[in-house]
Symmetry: C2
DNA sequence: TTAATTGATACTAATATAGTATCAGTTTAG
DNA sequence: CTAAACTGATACTATATTAGTATCAATTAA
């Protein structure tokens, strides 16, 4: 069971790169090469993040992408939801109200509790927090 | 993001059915029809659970499957691990020790913490607990 | 005016999930 | 003793998701 897929993962790395250079434009190309992310794949992720108002772009020479939303306001939960859909434990049957089977309903109760726990844990992790951790780690490693 | 896939889900339902009739053999066919699980699919899941010593089988007429392991000792974590592989937040890069990229290491720390939280939450949910919840619910609904 | 860039979108490849089919072997009821 | 009800084993197909590539038009700064 894999919790973060590549796209979420790459998106996090890209946001860390952009947050570290807040206020200036970074090209998709430079992010891709520096962070070892497939270029065209990354471009699609960046587009998606523009649509969600996490970042903005500038076209043309010297163009690129820049942070828009405050990194402390961007949670991993939000990124998972954008790139992998809402966290839900068992999609098909507990969501439908039909639920003829009693066993499902019992499971559903536990499962929604865990859903909330998972979400709230991932909500504690913001891009801002990761960036600070990253900076702290890089000082130690000097 | 889907946490439980069909196989885990079906496995849980089958175990609940078997636990409810502890000590007697239930055929794959009867479980499949009663719980609306594709028959051949279920059979594979049952085989897998035999391999993991959760249940035992008896061949031939009047044969079927019976619980072996104590339902209170079977956690949802265990079932997820059997059918979906170990819970891990980001498979490919944090596991390898290589980790040339510092950003990965920072994420890795948070991510392993969450991994533990998720696992421990799912460990609280056992087949035994679900069965008791199920029985309590069915009394209320009488 | 051209090279570096994003916008948009279509495409392919690989993998995981879900489900089906088949045949051999075992057991018990009649 | 044999036919029917079962499991054991395994191969197969279908669908969905994830991952990655390619292409071309539009924009912009040098």
């Amino acid at each position: 069971m894999k919790v973060l897929t590549k796209n979420t993962d790459y998106a996090i790395r890209a946001l860390l790169a952009l947050s570290a250079k807040k206020g200036s434009y970074l090209s998709a190309k430079s992010i891709a090469t520096e962070h070892d992310i497939p270029y065209q794949f990354l471009r699609r992720l960046l587009q998606e993040m523009i649509r969600h108002n996490l970042i903005v772009s500038k076209e043309g020479v010297q163009g690129g992408f820049m942070m828009q939303k405050d990194p402390d306001e961007i949670t991993v939960t939000e990124l998972i939801e954008i790139f992998q859909g809402k966290v839900q434990v068992s999609e098909c049957m507990f969501r439908k109200q039909i639920c003829g089977n009693r066993a499902r309903c019992v499971l559903r109760h536990e499962i929604m509790r865990i859903e909330r726990v998972v979400q709230s844990e991932f909500e504690k992790v913001t891009i801002g927090k990761l960036l600070r951790d990253l900076e702290a780690a890089s000082q130690v490693n000097q």
